[in-house]
């Protein structure tokens, strides 16, 4: 969907991005991660030409982005940023409808689309006529994402969209993004510096440093086969184990052939990292597991986490 070929960007003589080659596949959730100043935000903004690249070519759906009218290009992409940037003088509904208005949709269609998007993002319909300053931070970012998705864009660009939120709200919105990505199958490019967020969301992870890509691949590959010491350090040598566990859910390791145990069951949708925490907190090495609806159906053994996780990766 988006392809960078030998792209460079120079700000006042200092290269921000140099000789970048990157492909974000259709339907993939690509996450650009790196420290501040690594060029990840610049890379994202070159896609919708908020930043113009100096060298190389960027293709969007097979076409060089400069061959398309810039306003049309931007309207084909959703854009959500950390500070959200909702229009303070417009209501929630007007904000969501921004691009629809620009594309001159009919009133009835806009109203229907707003309803649909508010339902998709879990926003209470009563919020329609509120102004942004009357919303909580999490609600504002939901409106921001709804606005970016409004015109059913081919690509969704997100620049640290959850950076300013508290951990609980951030977690909820990350879950929401995973759900929306599964539901709509949109191509998403997201920039973040939060490693756990990147591991949780990405199916294509791109680690950048000094304006160049250090390594790209699935989160699992990045953790188990780091290309160099920088990658190892970045993902945290000491936390490598728990980060690996965070990539899988309890249901992948559940044993269903044992008799049910008493006690509060774990949901099968928890990550193994959360399960690990539960093992320690409950001082137990076997815990019951239930489906998302709460029906108990198996057990999770602490020893399985130790023996199988790393070993399976090594063999695969």
């Amino acid at each position: 969907m988006i392809e960078f070929r030998h792209v460079s960007k120079i700000f006042a003589g200092v290269p921000a991005v140099s000789d970048l080659n990157l492909e974000c596949k259709t339907g993939a959730f690509s996450v650009l991660i790196g420290t501040s100043g690594s060029g990840k935000s610049t890379t994202l903004k070159m896609i919708n030409r908020l930043v113009e690249h100096d060298e190389g070519t960027i293709l969007f759906a097979g076409e060089e982005i400069r061959s398309l009218p810039v306003l049309e290009l931007r309207r084909r992409m959703g854009y959500a940023i950390q500070s959200i940037g909702l229009f303070p003088h417009w209501t929630v509904a007007q904000n969501i409808a921004t691009v629809l208005q620009l594309q001159k949709w009919s009133k009835a269609k806009i109203t229907a689309r707003i309803d649909e998007l508010m339902a998709l993002l879990g926003l209470d319909p009563a919020l329609r006529d509120r102004y942004p300053h009357q919303l909580s931070g999490g609600q504002q970012q939901r409106v921001g994402v709804a606005r970016a998705l409004a015109a059913d864009p081919e690509v969704l660009l997100m620049d640290e969209p959850f950076g300013a939120l508290d951990p609980v709200t951030r977690g909820a919105l990350q879950q929401e993004m995973i759900r929306i990505h599964r539901l709509l199958g949109r191509t998403i490019v997201l920039v973040t510096h939060d490693i756990d967020e990147a591991l949780q969301l990405a199916d294509h992870l791109v680690l950048m440093d000094n304006g160049a890509i250090v390594q790209q691949g699935t989160p699992l590959e990045m953790l188990t086969r780091p290309a160099n010491d920088f990658v190892k350090d970045f993902f945290g040598r000491s936390e490598l184990g728990v980060r690996l566990l965070s990539l899988h859910q309890v249901k992948a390791w559940v044993r269903t052939n044992e008799k049910p145990l008493p006690g509060e069951p774990l949901s099968e949708e928890l990550t193994l990292r959360e399960a690990l925490s539960a093992f320690v907190a409950r001082q137990s090495d076997v815990l019951p597991v239930a489906t998302a609806d709460g029906v108990p159906y198996g057990t999770l053994h602490f020893s399985d986490l130790l023996t199988t996780e790393i070993a399976r990766e090594r063999h695969s």
Partner: protein, 375 residues
Amino acid sequence: MLLLVILALAATALPFVNYAPNRLVSGESRALWQLWPNQALIGLIVPAGLLLLSFLPRRAPLIATLMVAQGAFWLLIWCAGRAATDLAQTGSQLARTSPGSGWWLWLALSLLACSEAIRRLTPDPVWRWVLHAQIWWLPVVLLLNGQLDSLSLLKEYGNRQDVFDDALGRHLLLLFSTLIPSLMIGLLIGLWCYRHPARQGPVFAVLNVIQTVPSVALFGLLIAPLAGLVSSFPWLGALGVAGTGMTPALIALILYALLPLVRGVVAGLNQVPADVLESAKGMGMSASQRFWQVRFPLALPILLRSIRVVAVQTVGMAVIAALIGAGGFGALVFQGLLSSALDLVLLGVIPVIALAVVVDALFALGIALLEVKGP
């Protein structure tokens, strides 16, 4: 509040009206108890009531305070008219009755009490505005009814109705022909400065210098070059340009208006958050859409505030423009000053104050309505 009440008690002792057998001699003062010995006690009851109310908490006493203060205000206006009518019947046709210092103090205090009560009653600017506006309906009715006609101020008005109406027209003309061109010029310069911040320094420096020139001096300074221009280009004279009168007055008033306006435009545009503009751009709004749909509406409240300042400033400054023959209420004021006729001065000053207050209130309403929806 306590202070207000003490002042009010003091004010009761001061003369309520001044009475003079004709407009030339200075009058003798009459206190409230000399006019109506039986009802004078009300001058003590009202402050005492207000004092009591100010110690009671919560809303109900606040509403009562507002009603008492407002009632006192209405009563004052009515009493002044009444006293003048009574005195006129005992004296000659030429007798003049004007409000005394006690009356003015009372008037100011009751208005202050009203406004304090309104301020505590509601934080909503629109409601405050409505409550302030409703104080004035009865005085306006009394004025139009002719109840106040015996007051010397209105007698003076009766004598000079034509001059007054002419002055009002002139003053409004000065106001609008300053506001409209200065708004256009101010917006252009403001935008020009906003696009290139480097220009802001020099532009503001020049405008600041203009602002510091005393107004009389600026009016005077313009006379010579304009007169020179007209004598070398006679067709300018045919257009109505002249060394004295409207032309130099308007030029000076516009120059004074520019600094607050340009500052308002630049400050308004600068406080539009950068992230809002970035997301507007990122969503594919064109430059003109970003300006008209995002920048301009978000800058508008601050811009309106500076237009409000400019409008009030122009109403006041236009008084001085009378010195170079631009007319308006200033002409009445200066005529009154030269002939030591206080009533004539007041006839010029009071409408200017009223005009300034009305202009200010209209802008305040506009801004309040705008901010009901904004952040």
